[in-house]
């Protein structure tokens, strides 16, 4: 393979803090990593780049001893190591946030942050001191939640922040962050980057994975690109343009991608005015204040707001996942009572949850079963979808969404994060919904796939599907939506039209006083 001329020169630099040489990792039938080299220096932020399934998470897990590589050596500060598990890696000064939030939902926030290093008095855990310490750590990150609350009560974004707080709480030499920002909004990301910079300046080596190019360029000093489990090269961030980076990642010329992007960009200009779903005064105590909402045929309605502004909760109400306790909803002009998801599905509504691990995919089932599940459930148990139809449908969507591996019998739990998300999306697309509610559908999805999904949304809208689109990435929302509903404190504060900009939204969210004007506008 011809190595790009911009590969970083190695000679002049100090010895690497962490060095992997010729690392290979294999799973039954999958070569996840093949002879990959990787270096991480003290005092740098190093981005690990690659498409979904390129092997980023696997590399991280091979480094921290979760997987034992089949070949290769790992050295830390020049000494060869071979960790038998994350505990040993941690002892060696490597602190890690793995991709999916890996915390214990049954424990409190404070316990999660300090598990294994709780403050003790007379040999017993000092709960009060532990909570106080956790509160401090959270406050450092600008997060003010009750450290004594149970983790499961918090949305996935907060859980992500807690995981980060846990990782930065120790004095580590190496900090590894595998897609820490996928569920965070801009403020949180900024906060995280501030912390990362402080740590970097202190000499900590930081490994960072993200599919947001902006973020990567903002924070990283150097990057390593992987493709299909192989090393493409190591580069200085400053030397590599975005376009070059993307083409290194996807291994194709960029033309195709640009085309896709263009298509996605021109989100169907003309949305109809025929309402698919109309909600009046729909709300639920303690969750979402009663609000009105109309979604037309072929229209993409974006939901914008900060963390905890109630977007997810609103989506759940529209899908019957939670029961609204006020208001009325009509679908196609007929009054519906969405008592449970079944009813919503029967009415032609689909909902792709943001919590793909907890509420989305079924890890122990194959891609095929996951994809057809919702369709099958709607069909009823007695009318199984014929094998042939299944295969056709599944094959089609595997191709359309570029799900890897392409083997429909692969267990979804073993897929890379991004691919799991695609499977989930496919599940709902096969039901041919009238209204598709997407909660963070591009979370953890690589840039190529993200544009693909955006394009798909635009196409669906053009075909007449109504879409509710929730994303922490305001650009995305703005680009795709015909209309944007802005949420704050679980209340709808404004509805903006197609020409709204990210700044408009930010202003609305930031200033309470503007609320009335905005609604009027």
């Amino acid at each position: 393979m011809s190595v790009d001329a911009k590969q970083a020169p190695l000679a002049t630099e100090p010895p690497a803090l962490v060095q992997l040489r010729g690392i290979s990792v294999e799973f039954p039938g999958v070569k996840a990593l093949q002879e990959v080299d990787f270096r991480l220096f003290a005092g740098e932020v190093h981005a690990l780049m690659g498409e979904n399934g390129a092997g980023k998470s696997t590399l991280i897990k091979a480094l921290t001893g979760v997987y034992t590589p089949t070949a290769g050596v790992t050295t830390i500060e020049g000494r060869e190591v071979s960790f038998s598990g994350p505990a040993e890696a941690q002892d060696a000064g490597i602190s890690t946030v793995y991709q999916e939030v890996n915390l214990c939902p049954n424990l409190t926030v404070a316990e999660n942050i300090l598990l294994g290093r709780e403050l003790r008095r007379f040999g017993a855990i000092d709960g009060r001191a532990t909570r106080a310490r956790a509160a401090e750590l959270l406050a450092d990150m600008g997060l003010h939640i009750d450290p004594g609350s149970v983790l499961a009560e918090h949305p996935i974004a907060i859980q992500q922040l807690v995981a980060i707080a846990r990782a930065v709480a120790v004095d580590a030499k190496v900090l590894i962050l595998d897609e820490p920002t996928s569920s965070l909004d801009q403020d949180e990301v900024a906060e995280l980057f501030r912390i990362m910079r402080v740590l970097r300046d202190r000499g900590v080596a930081i490994l960072f994975v993200s599919h947001f190019l902006e973020q990567v360029y903002e924070i990283s000093d150097r990057m390593t690109v992987l493709r299909n489990g192989r090393l493409v090269g190591e580069y200085r961030t400053a030397d590599l343009s975005r376009l070059e980076l993307v083409s290194l990642m996807i291994g194709r010329e960029l033309g195709a991608l640009a085309e896709v992007e263009r298509l996605a960009g021109q989100a169907g200009e003309e949305a109809s005015t025929v309402p698919v779903l109309q909600a009046t005064g729909v709300g639920r105590k303690g969750s979402v204040a009663p609000l009105d909402l109309r979604i037309n045929r072929g229209e993409v309605v974006g939901l914008a707001g900060l963390l905890g502004s109630g977007r997810t909760e609103l989506a759940r109400l529209l899908f019957g996942a939670d029961r609204p306790d006020s208001g009325q909803m009509t679908v196609d002009g007929k009054v519906v009572h969405l008592r449970n998801p079944r009813a919503a599905i029967a009415a032609g509504i689909a909902f792709c949850s943001e919590d793909r691990k907890g509420e989305g995919v079924l890890a122990d089932l194959s891609i095929r079963d996951n994809v057809i599940l919702a369709m099958q459930a709607a069909n009823g148990w007695a009318r199984p979808i014929p094998r042939k139809v299944k295969d056709q449908v599944v094959e089609k969507w595997i191709k359309a969404l570029d799900i890897r591996p392409t083997n429909p019998d692969a267990l979804v739990g073993k897929l890379s994060g991004g691919n799991q998300q695609k499977v989930l999306l496919a599940r709902w697309l096969v039901t041919k919904p009238k209204l598709l509610i997407l909660d963070e559908p591009t979370r953890g999805i690589d840039i190529g796939a993200k544009t693909q999904i955006q394009k798909l949304v635009a196409e669906l809208a053009q075909e007449g599907v109504a879409v509710v689109y929730i994303s922490a990435e305001l650009e995305e929302v703005v680009r795709l939506s015909h209309r944007i509903v802005v949420m704050k404190d679980r209340t709808k504060i404004a509805e903006l039209d197609q020409h709204a900009t990210v700044d408009d939204i930010m202003r609305l969210i930031a200033h309470v006083d503007e609320r009335t004007e905005a609604v009027a506008a």
């Binding site: 089949t70 089932l365 599940r427």
Partner: protein
């Protein structure tokens, strides 16, 4: 990657090791007593130790089938033993009290009433678990305790003996093969068809893997859970008929005592995890057969009652070790290391056991 070759498919299905165990057990018996495998026709039906295993194992098999589905939904049913007792008690009391205790009508009516009652008991369990969301083990413990009491209440604590040829057929009759095994196999086929040919199996598995995700995908999670308890209870009811019919008597105290444990053991030996999700009906069947063969082995090899349990423990542990990929891998690695050339990397990648990658870690990480 799943291979299309049937042998490999079979291997990856996890049925290989239970089957190996069963064959080993039978072989051990045949070695100790060559006549063990002998079959002859006696009064128009097959006669032999293997036939006994099938006949006596049928109730456990049936109950294990029901239990398997319950376990697949992440539940457990401790009340099946009590339901066995109730089913036998109701039938025998009805027959004994009928105008003509030997008539086919009495037997059929009695069995019908018993099974209907069992279905109601299943509904009850399902109500506690699915509707009230009480933890299955404690919810079914209620009926486990009270149910046997109810059975004894029905029989007044006595063993009720009946002489009814029709009723006798269920547990002791033969159509060349024992009728009970035919019933068990029929139910197995029925369930297999019902769950594998329809979408039921998929729905059951997904409820067991992640109830909330299933609900959001539009499954009737509650109805499914409820249904499997009813099914398990009916299976237990039929098993109860077999057990009492086999000795022509209802013994409310002892019928089905601890059979729930055997059934759960069969399910687990068959490769179904108690954490719910993917299940194997064939494995369950094999598991039940292993357990019954074990019992028969004890009797026919003349193992002293004092050490029967130790023997059972050893076999169960051996089965589990054989079945656990981790343990097999460890064993294999040891023998390989001794015999094979040290160059493991040269082996083709498709053989997980030879990889230094810890399979367990992979599994663990893959699970949510």
């Amino acid at each position: 990657m799943t291979s299309t070759r049937p042998l490999n498919r079979f291997r990856s299905s996890g049925l290989l090791w239970p089957l190996v165990t069963l064959v080993l057990l039978l072989a051990a018996n045949a070695v100790v007593r060559p006549s063990f495998l002998a079959l002859r026709i006696q009064d128009g039906h097959l006669y032999g130790s293997v036939v006994d295993i099938l006949k006596n194992g049928a109730p456990t098999m049936l109950i294990a089938l029901g239990m398997c589905l319950v376990v697949a939904t992440r539940g457990i049913d401790l009340s099946v033993g009590a339901i066995v007792a109730i089913s036998g008690a109701v039938t025998c009391s009805y027959i004994a009290g009928a105008a003509d205790p030997t008539s086919a009508g009495a037997a059929l009516a009695g069995m019908g009433i018993a099974l209907a009652l069992c279905a109601v008991l299943g509904l009850w369990n399902g109500f506690l678990v699915a509707a009230l969301r009480i933890q299955p083990i404690i919810a079914t413990l209620v009926l486990m305790t009270a149910g046997r009491g109810i059975a004894m209440l029905i029989t007044d604590g006595q063993i009720i003996t009946v002489r009814n040829p029709t009723f006798r057929t269920v547990g002791a009759g033969f159509l060349v093969l024992p009728v009970s095994i035919l019933i068990a196999v029929a139910v197995f086929v029925l369930v297999a068809l019902l769950t594998r040919r329809t979408a039921l199996g998929l729905l059951i598995e997904s409820v067991g893997i992640n109830p909330e995700a299933s609900r959001l995908a539009g499954l009737r999670a509650r109805t499914i859970r409820w249904t499997v308890y009813v099914f398990a209870a009916i299976c237990a009811g039929v098993a109860g008929l077999m057990i009492s019919s086999n000795v022509s008597a209802a013994d409310a105290n002892n019928a089905g005592l601890w059979i729930e444990m055997d059934a759960i053991l069969a399910v687990v030996i068959g490769g179904t995890s108690l954490a719910g999700g993917r299940y194997s009906l064939t494995g369950t069947l094999l598991g039940a057969l292993i357990i019954q063969t074990l019992v028969t082995t004890v009797y026919s090899m003349g193992i002293a009652p004092e050490i029967t349990l130790v023997f059972k423990a050893v076999v169960v542990i051996a089965v589990c070790l054989l079945q656990a990929p981790k343990a097999r891998a460890a064993l294999l690695r040891r023998t390989r290391r001794r015999h094979a050339p040290p160059d493991l990397d040269a082996e083709p990648a498709a053989r997980p056991n030879t990889q230094t990658l810890t399979a367990a870690m992979v599994e663990k990480v893959a699970q949510p």
